[in-house]
Symmetry: C2
Subunit: 256 residues, 2 copies
């Protein structure tokens, strides 16, 4: 049955979507059956996989708000083994509508249930906030993956995120654990980056992935071609780092 | 009477807080009376100015939810001429509470009214979302400043932001205009960055500031010392860029 991971951090621009798209790509490339759920109204994961968020069809909004079956929303991507539940702009208004529903924090968890046997891993790309969409992701997940940019301001919000995780674990989802902390956009040349790496490893010795993701321009170019870095620049430093992360990830959370 | 600007973009990590803090610093340095309102629950602007968001005292949350007078929340910063209304963690729960209030989009606009004569410029640092806090900022403002990171994914969300601005202008704040578009973290060495600069200048020929903000590690180090780049590294490329931006800004929106 599928293991479900939310990729979340309310700090903006830390590499949530880049991690979601490229980690999924390398896991699918290794033969796993992977589903990515784009729960960010910006629909960056959807665009990064070459799918137009404005195209007609069922999106995550229809699944959460209109109770459409999630299977209707699942789209194939260019990568065999990787499927996507796309986001669209309607999702921007979803939080207000979700707030009035019964069991509003569990809408996503219930919606994903029919898919449990079809995938090895399900990943949820969350928006940069701790609102109802992200809480839905944390309630549906077995674990959270926290990308942390190697910048000072990225450290600031971690304690707020951890206390939100505690609350969700207490009243909504007792199995939620910190599955991993991932250091992103590291730059060995700057003191600040090295300091953040040391700080995070000290605070999260067990959870922090060995794999560091370096700053690599190929990673930021790939989405403009609607490709993952696996297809766009497989020999780049960014691709090799996400490939190593996928291997480390499968070691921590073996399939089946 | 004060001109009010919201610094907003739902894309995360594009330089909203860095622009808010450093533009305010150079405007105050040029002799203007400036107020910065930190309306992001992450409280990054508060931290960047050396103020602890956990310290006791009135914060923006108390002003919006408990109707405390905004003067109670105004704090002095280390820079003469620059005052701050700090954020704190309570703000993370504010949107749900605000949603139930009458005229919920105008809470900030009404709260700031008593301050109109005391400042030349008021800036509002918004969180990375288009929720009720950001809508409050757009409703209170005369203009919006849109930081755009020189990255492909940062372009994606602009049309969504523009349509939100249209809606706010139609039903909440008829005077709201796009005061400026600011290109941030530009890197002349990469094709992607240059392409984004050209695209944005072509789409927003009148609004885009001449000043480009380059990627500069001093800008990301300054917050860890609780200083603006004006105090931390005044000769750095980042500081010179924000100094030039402040001059260009005063030319566009002269005081009084
Ligand atoms: N390791 C990296 N090297 C270089 N650029 C990167 C790297 N990781 C991400 N980026 C770029 O940095 C920007 C922010 O990354 P991304 O959009 O993945 O972050 P996010 O946390 O999903 O943002 P948001 O908070 O808006 O959802 C993007 O333009 C992306 O292409
Ligand atoms: N021109 C620049 N050069 C180098 N680093 C920068 C620059 N501008 C911002 N940064 C760094 O990039 C990160 C993101 O910037 P910042 O936090 O200001 O963005 P933001 O849009 O306010 O983010 P959020 O969406 O989380 O509110 C921060 O760590 C900041 O220090
Ligand atoms: Mg994202
Ligand atoms: Mg910010």
């Amino acid at each position: 049955t599928a293991q479900i991971f939310a990729i979340a951090n309310q700090k903006g621009g830390v590499g949530k979507t880049t991690t979601a798209v490229n980690l999924c790509a390398f896991l699918a490339g290794a033969g796993c059956r992977v589903l990515l759920v784009d729960s960010d109204p910006q629909a960056n994961a959807t665009t990064s996989l070459g799918i137009d968020p404005r195209r007609p069809g069922t999106s995550l909004y229809d699944v959460l708000i209109d109770n459409r079956p999630v299977q209707e929303a699942v789209s194939e991507t260019a990568l065999p083994g990787l499927s996507l539940v796309p986001a669209n702009l309607d999702l921007a208004g979803a939080e207000v509508e979700m707030a009035a529903r019964m069991a509003r924090e569990q809408l996503l968890s219930k919606a994903l249930q029919p898919l449990h046997c079809q995938y090895d891993y399900v990943f949820i790309d969350d928006p940069p906030s701790l609102g109802l969409i992200t809480i839905n992701g944390l309630t549906a997940a077995d674990g959270i993956i926290i990308p942390v940019q190697c910048e000072y301001l990225a450290l600031e919000g971690l304690s707020q995120l951890l206390s939100t995780i505690q609350q969700v674990r207490k009243v909504l989802n007792g199995r939620l654990k910190v599955a991993g902390v991932l250091l992103t956009m590291s730059d060995a040349r700057t003191k600040l980056s090295t300091q953040v790496v040391d700080d995070v490893r000290a605070h999260f010795p067990l959870e922090t992935f060995e794999t560091l993701i370096p700053r690599s321009v190929r990673l930021s170019e790939a989405p403009s071609h609607g490709l993952t870095v696996l297809s766009y620049a497989p020999e780049s430093a960014g691709a090799l780092a996400y490939e190593a992360l996928a291997a480390e990830f499968m070691g921590r959370f073996p399939v089946g």
